[in-house]
Amino acid sequence: MTTGDALVRAAYQGSALSRRLELRRQLGYLALLLPALILLLVLFVYPILRLLVTSIYDGGQLTLEHYRRIVEVDLYLRVLRTTFTIALQVTLLCLALGYPLAYFLATLRARTARLLMILVLIPFWTSILVRTYAWMVLLQRQGVFNRWLLELGLIDEPLRMMYNRIGVLVGMTHVLLPFMVLPTYAVMRGIDRNLLRAAANLGASPLQSFLRVFLPLSLPGVAAGSLLVFILALGFFITPALMGGRNDMMIAQLIETQIRTQLNFAFAAALATVLLVVTLIIFAIYNRLLGLDKMFGGGV
C-alpha cells in the first residue's frame, strides 16, 4: 500500500464522516431555531389565522356578512377612505421633506453626515407618546405656536392646528420621516459620484445631470422609504387618536372601538383582515422590488 492510497482512503473516510457531522450540525441548528419559531407560530401566526377565520365563520357557518357591512355602511367606508388618504398624504409629505434632506446629507462628508444623522435618529428612538405630547404642547389652542403667533400679531385668534387633519399630518410625518430618510440616504451614499462628473463632462447642466443620472439612481431608496412609510401609516393608532378630529378616524381606531366599546369581535376581525391584506400586498411588492433583507438591515 502506497502512501498515496492511504491518503485517498483517509480523505474518503474523512468526507463520509464530515457529511455525517454536517447533518448533525444542521439538526443542531434547527433545534436552536425551534423555540423562537414555536413562539411566533403560537402567538403570532396562529392568532392571526384565527382572526381571519373569525371574520368569515360566525354562528357555525361561513358568512361574508361582516365584509358586506364594511362596504355598505357609509361610516366604515369613510374610515377606509380616510385611512388611505392620510397614509398617502403622509407618504408625500415625508418624500417632500425627506428627499431633499437625504440629498443634502449625502453631499456632505461622511463624518459630518453621520453627526447630523444623530438628529434624525434621536426622534426615531424616542417614544411616539413623548413626541405626540410635544406636538400637542406646540399645536393646541393655548399652545406655543398660537401664543407666539398672537404675540407677533400675525393672527387675531388662535389657529386650529390640532384635533383636525393638520395635527394628524404633522404628528405622523414627524414619526415616519426617519423611515424615509434612512433608506433614501443609504442609497444616495452608494451612488458613484464619477457618474455625475461624467455627465457634467459630457455637457449636462447640474439640473440635467440630477434629473437624468442622480434621480433615477436614487429611486430604489425612494421606493423603499415610500412603501415603508405607507405601510406603517396605514396601521397608525396613537397619533390620530390623540391629535385627530372626528373626521380623521383611521382603521386602527375603528378596530379598537369595535372591540372595546361595541364588543364586536367578528366585525373587528373583518376590518383587521382588510388592513392585513393591504399591508401584506404592499409588503410583497416591497419584497419583489427590493428584497426583505434591505428593509431593516440598512441604515438603522
Binding site: 450540525r25 444542521q26 441548528y29 434547527l30 436552536l32 423555540p35 423562537a36 413562539l39 411566533l40 407560530l41 403570532f44 392568532p47 384565527r50 421633506l97 425627506g98 431633499p100 434632506l101 440629498y103 443634502f104 438628529l119 434624525v120 434621536i122 426622534p123 428612538w125 424616542t126 417614544s127 411616539i128 407618546l129 413623548v130 405630547y133 410635544a134 400637542m136 404642547v137 406646540l138 393646541q140 399652545g143 406655543v144 414627524h174 464619477n194 462628473r197 457634467a200 447642466s205 447640474p206 406603517l232 396605514l234 396601521g235 393608532f237 396613537i238 390623540l242 386602527a252 378596530i255 379598537e256 372591540i259 369581535f265 376581525a269 388592513l275 392585513l276 399591508t279 426583505l292 438591515g297
Partner: protein, 283 residues
C-alpha cells in the same frame, strides 16, 4: 493624490475645477436652509419637552416663566405613575432576556443552516415589524381570552417578546454574517466542544450585535402601547398606558417630566450601543 498616475485619476483631477465652477451656490444655500429646517422639525419636540418639564408654571407655557422640579416631584410622589413605570421596567426586562436568548439561538440557525422553507421562516420572523400592532393586539387578545391569559404579567411579556424578537434577530444576524467561521473551526480543532466554542469564541465576537438587539428589544417593549392596552388590564398598567390616559384626559405637565426622563434614557442607551459598536470595530 496616488491615483493621479492612472488615466482615470488624471481625468478626475482635470474635471474637478470645472465641476466646482458649475455648482450654483444659491441652490446649495436653499437646500442647506431647507434641510436645517427639516432637522429642526425632527428635533423640535425634544427641544420643547425638556425645558417644559422644569417649568414653574401650573399650566402650559413656553418658554417657562421660572424653573422648578414640581413635575418631577409630582411624578415620584404619585403611585399611579411610579407603579406603571415599575411595571414597564419589569415587563421590558423579561422581554429583553427572553427575546435575546431565543433570538440569538434562532439567528445562529438562520445564518448558518440551510433547510427547506427557510424563506418562509425568514418571512414569519420579520413580519411582526410590519404587521400593524393593532392586528397583533386583537389577535393575541382573542387567543388570551380563551386561555385566560388576559391581564397576566407573563401574557404581556410573551406578547411583547413576539414583537421584540425580530429586532434581536435582525441585529444578531447582521453581525453573524460578518463572522469568520474559520475561527470556530479552529477552536473545534483545538478540542473545544460546541458550547465552549460558542461561549469563548462566537459569543464575544457577536456581542455588539447582541447588545444592540437587546437594547432594541427592551425599548420595543418599554414603549409599546397598543398590545398592552388590550391585554395588560388596569392592574398591570404600563407607563405608555398611563401616559396615553394622561394625554386623553387633560394634558398633564407631569408627562413632560416623564418624557424628559424617557428621552434622556433612550439617548443614553443609544449612545452606549454606539460605543459598544465602535469599540468592537476598533478591535
Amino acid at each position: 493624490m496616488a491615483e493621479a498616475a492612472t488615466p482615470l485619476g488624471r481625468l478626475e483631477v482635470a474635471v474637478q475645477p470645472r465641476r466646482r465652477r458649475r455648482t450654483i451656490p444659491w441652490a446649495r444655500l436653499v437646500l442647506g436652509v431647507f434641510s436645517a429646517l427639516v432637522l429642526l422639525y425632527l428635533v423640535a419636540p425634544v427641544l420643547i419637552v425638556i425645558p417644559m418639564s422644569f417649568s414653574a408654571a401650573k399650566y402650559l407655557s413656553f418658554p417657562p416663566p421660572g424653573l422648578s422640579l414640581q413635575w418631577y416631584e409630582n411624578f415620584f410622589a404619585r403611585s399611579d405613575w411610579t407603579s406603571a413605570t415599575i411595571q414597564s421596567i419589569r415587563v421590558a426586562f423579561m422581554v429583553m432576556v427572553l427575546s435575546t436568548v431565543l433570538g440569538v439561538a434562532a439567528s445562529l440557525a438562520l445564518v448558518r443552516a440551510s433547510f427547506p422553507g427557510k424563506e418562509i421562516v425568514n418571512l414569519i420572523i420579520v413580519s411582526p415589524l410590519v404587521v400593524p400592532a393593532i392586528i397583533v393586539a386583537i389577535a393575541v387578545y382573542g387567543l388570551y381570552v380563551q386561555f385566560r391569559l388576559v391581564q397576566t404579567f407573563w401574557g404581556l411579556v410573551l406578547a411583547h417578546t413576539v414583537l421584540a424578537i425580530p429586532y434581536v434577530i435582525v441585529n444578531v444576524s447582521a453581525t453573524l454574517r460578518g463572522f469568520d467561521i474559520r475561527l470556530e473551526q479552529a477552536a473545534r480543532s483545538l478540542g473545544a466542544n460546541g458550547w465552549q466554542t460558542f461561549r469563548h469564541v462566537t459569543l464575544p465576537l457577536i456581542s455588539p450585535g447582541i447588545f444592540a438587539g437587546a437594547v432594541f428589544a427592551f425599548i420595543a417593549s418599554f414603549d409599546e402601547l397598543i398590545v398592552a392596552l388590550f391585554i395588560a388590564g388596569a392592574r398591570g398598567r404600563t407607563l405608555p398606558m398611563r401616559m396615553f390616559e394622561g394625554l386623553r384626559m387633560e394634558i398633564d405637565p407631569t408627562i413632560a417630566a416623564v418624557s424628559s426622563m424617557l428621552i434622556t434614557f433612550s439617548v443614553l442607551v443609544l449612545a452606549s450601543a454606539e460605543l459598544v459598536r465602535r469599540r468592537s470595530q476598533v478591535e
